[in-house]
Amino acid sequence: MESWVVVSAVTMGYLLLSLAVGLASGRGSSKTTEGYVAGDRSLGFLVMYFIMGASIFSAFAFLGGPGWAYSRGAAAFYILSYGTVGLIPWYFFGPRVARLGRQRGYVTQAELFADRFQSRWLSAILALISLLAFLPYLTLQMQGAGYVFEVVTEGRVPAWLGAAIAYGVVLIYVYGSGVMGVGWTNTFQGVFMMVLAWGLGLYLPWRLYGGVGAMFEAILERAPRATEMLAAPGLDAAGNPWTWGGYSSAIAVSAIGFSLWPHYFMKIYTARSEAVLKKTIVFYPTFQIFLIPIMFIGFAGILAHPGVTPADAILPTILMSMQLPAFVVGLFCAGALAASMSTGDAIVHAAGSIMIRDFYRALFRPSLTDAQETQLIRIVVILIAAVAYYFAVVSEMSIVLLLLLSYGFLVQIAPVLLATFFWARATAPGVIAGLLTGVAVVVLFDRVPSLQWQGIQPGIFGLVANLVVLVFVSLATKPMAEEHVRDFVVT
């Protein structure tokens, strides 16, 4: 049998298994929106752990992580750094968010903020910012899935069809099972990816150099610009030394933005108890440490396969050159699909819930019934997947430009969170003006790179402007009723 047939068969078998797990898992939850979006607030440690783990296992980590290590060296260390503290804020505010959610019926991030500031507009603006941050990210996941299919079948299944097949599976289980489908497929896919990452990350340096230490010795002795490659801040995208401002602010923006991603924030409401939530946060680094073997894969390519472009293709390139059995290559492809799908499913599910609850219902149809709402969420899930699919395979527009803005936008939610819990004097006009200013500054600094002093990320400048405007506008407007505010603010 030809090897591409074996590889394709393994990949398809894996997809079918994911579909079965996804569909079977939705049967236990209730038919309400709370069941569809927040899993009836009943998720235990295992599923929560793997849902959060999937935040690390994205197509970006699986293909982009090795790509960064390969082409930009120690610059890739930033990806390892931000996750170390990225989820820690949850440990301190997460239980409070969960408790308020339980008492007041929230299932999305914006519902908390809109309730605290009594503003439907805040809810709608946050929904739009979330969508702007989601779309590029989802598009990249789809492109990754399509790319995997094309490589696996040696071009017989083109990328557009591959992306359609993988995300067809995702839509079926998200449509049918909601958050339970996302949770249980991520659990299944997470175990699979962990084994694969550690296996490949340790096997490749051993096979090519005789070990991890031997690999880095060889790079230091023989690679051009070895010292710059192996010591942070590494290289920038153009191959020149990166600035400390660029490296440090990338960590700062990502670490602050990480705990604010609306699709992960929503998972706070799904935890069964405070203990489950905190345990998930505590054990998160056991997932994050997997980025180390992932980076080893990229470093392994520096001497063995110089000049691979795009750099993100380094992992498939190494695998194809090693004459591995077709079955093993098939497993890798399934792993890369798992990485893409486990991130993509959480995003489409959250984006659907957010657009209906935080945007449509908040502004136009407060009277929506539970059944109508769940049905609308399902329809929007399909619409959003279609838009991302358009960008992924049809549009010529470079989505990477938008992706750079994703974290810049997300970080602008941080002042809203701080004001919600720590500043009673903050008002709705204040947080809205701050948000809009922050987003505008991010776009401006992104468009005009010469404004980026010391190479610092636009998100940081936006954050500063956001905070200043929030404080001044809040002080200039009428304070909110103390009775209402004290339910939220930490005393």
Binding site: V85, G213, T227, A231, A252, S273, A275, K278, T286
Partner: protein
């Protein structure tokens, strides 16, 4: 009777507050230790430790130590009873 939701910290004793303050300070320090101006002091290729460049070993060590600190905080919370829902893990 006041039935409003209460933040944890409002019913904590002074020693309990000190534990949270210490944990917060620890994580802020770790955050800073991964960026300029602290991390450049450790961002070097040699020596190789556990096969990794020194700068990468340093970051990996921060991940492992931070895991230990968070785990210790969690266990302490369970034992001292400040955590809600500890019975249903």
């Amino acid at each position: 009777m006041d039935t409003r939701p209460r933040l944890q910290s409002s019913k904590l004793s002074a020693p309990q507050r000190r534990v949270y303050a210490a944990a917060t300070i620890y994580f802020v320090v770790v955050f800073a230790a991964m960026m300029w101006p602290i991390y450049p002091w450790f961002a070097r290729a040699r020596p190789l430790l556990l096969g990794m460049p020194f700068g990468l070993f340093y970051l990996a060590a921060l991940v492992v130590v931070s895991f230990g600190v968070a785990l210790a905080l969690f266990v302490w919370e369970l034992r001292s009873g400040v955590i809600a829902g500890a019975d249903e893990r």
